[in-house]
């Protein structure tokens, strides 16, 4: 019985995660992620279902997480949470691995972007590689394997 319950609980957790879809990302979320990742290196990658270059980054992040299981990746769709079905379909097709998935939850997108980085003009993909001291390396456009691997070595 206990085992069945444990299995049910596990299933419930998995179901809950799937039903919830991407986590809502707003003007406070970047600070919350940095706090949660204190003392650790991590990546925050912004993308959209309408961004063609973004799909290249998915493969790269998947491979990096596979070869570095401790690597923490937050994947933020700038598409609204309402686009969860399209976001899920994209991520199923261009699997980014076990990254934490977010989506924009504030229609005032300028406010969210500004909280991430006032210098970000909205172009995608846009990737922030934070080292252990949380000093970011900012990448506009496709993140190359060489650049990612260089950062992984240094982080």
């Amino acid at each position: 019985m206990k085992r069945i319950l444990a299995a049910a609980l596990l299933a419930a957790t998995a179901f809950g995660a799937a039903a919830a879809g991407p986590k809502p990302f707003d003007a406070q979320s970047m600070a919350a992620i940095r706090k949660a990742e204190e003392g650790r290196a991590f990546i925050v990658a912004f993308w959209s279902v309408s961004c063609e270059p973004c799909r290249n980054e998915m493969k790269l992040l998947r491979a990096a997480q596979r070869s570095h299981p401790a690597l923490r990746v937050h994947l933020v769709a700038v598409d609204p949470v309402a686009d969860a079905p399209a976001i899920a379909a994209f991520l199923k097709r261009y699997d980014p691995g076990p990254a934490v998935r977010w989506a924009f939850a504030d229609s005032f997108a300028e406010r969210v972007r500004y909280a991430v980085d006032p210098a970000w003009r909205g172009e995608l993909p846009r990737t922030y590689l934070f080292d252990r001291r949380h000093i970011p390396e900012v990448v506009s456009g496709i993140l190359t394997q060489a650049r990612l691997e260089g950062w992984i070595r240094r982080r």
């Binding site: 609204p80 300028e110 003009r121």
Partner: protein
Amino acid sequence: MRRLAAALALALAAGTAGSHEEHGKGQRMREGADERNASATVDAAGNLWAVVKDAGHIAVHRSADAGRTWSAPKRVTSAPEATDSGGDARPKIAAGPGGEVYVTWTRPLGRPYAGEIRFARSVDGGASFGAPMVVHADRQLITHRFDALAVNAKGQVFVAWIDKRDQEAQRGKGPAYRGAAVYWAVSDDRGASFRGDFKLADYSCECCRIALLPRADGGFDALWRHVFEPNLRDHAMAAMLPEGRAGALSRATFDDWRIDVCPHHGPSLTADASGRRHAVWFSGAAKNPGVFYGRLAENRVEGQRRIGGQTAEHADLAAAGNRLAVAWKEFDGARSRLRALRSDDAGASWQERELAVTSGASGQPAVLVRGGQFLVFWNTRNEPLSVTPLP
């Protein structure tokens, strides 16, 4: 034990209800405040027309008093439908010389990046709209997005868009195709039918709006973000001629932005009384990123100057004789500001001023000309369909 199981079931049910509610909230957001990207135009009689997303529908408003008051929304679609609305995407509107009102928008299809350009028309001054149709003959489930719409003096309707049929055709055959292509179609019968699809150019950027400027020959000059070899995302210009022929492509801006990215910042284009072309555009080139104004000359830009500060975006411009007006929005950390530049000497000197401020979501501003006066249209969540005269 049973109680625990019951509690679990309850938790599951609550989880489902919670996520359902969240989805519902999201839908409202998508249909309401989230889709502020609207467009506006002025007809020959001086009426303003705006196209917006209204409760999931494409809808049109008319104003007879320069935007002080607007009619109730007239729905163009018979049922709500998904519309590309993020970044540089928005529905478009244009007026014909015989009281026609034309509307285009992009409907995303069920595959990443896939979409179709939809078109609807009114031939009775906006009283009623016909059923929407797809503009392009190509019906593959691929990218046809970022529609641009314009009507020439003879009433011919031009629609241009970003199209990936050539990229798809080249898939798996040799080197990857750079970006997408620009295609267009023309209607000679007030939008009853279109002839096309005509290719304007290979290798456009994938996700920026296209600017159109009328030519003396009835065609339009198009200005768009291009992908010059190998990945240089500056702008290119070429003519769409009425018979369906494309003019020669020329490079229009020279910022050397080498990147593989979706900027979601397309250009705007206008011409002064002497036919000189003036443009605004965005470049993210690391040495000098920003929004810029400049006059497009042969193989160079004259008088290039930065517009606004670090967060300036989505500039638009228009000309009335030798007077020019540029408008853009800028976020100050709490609010978005609508700012404008005005020149009375065809761009030689400029005065800057602030026109409006909003504390919520907003669409892209548009500069309109009505009876020689500049009006700036800005659809914000808190001040829908706002129109500010530029003194």
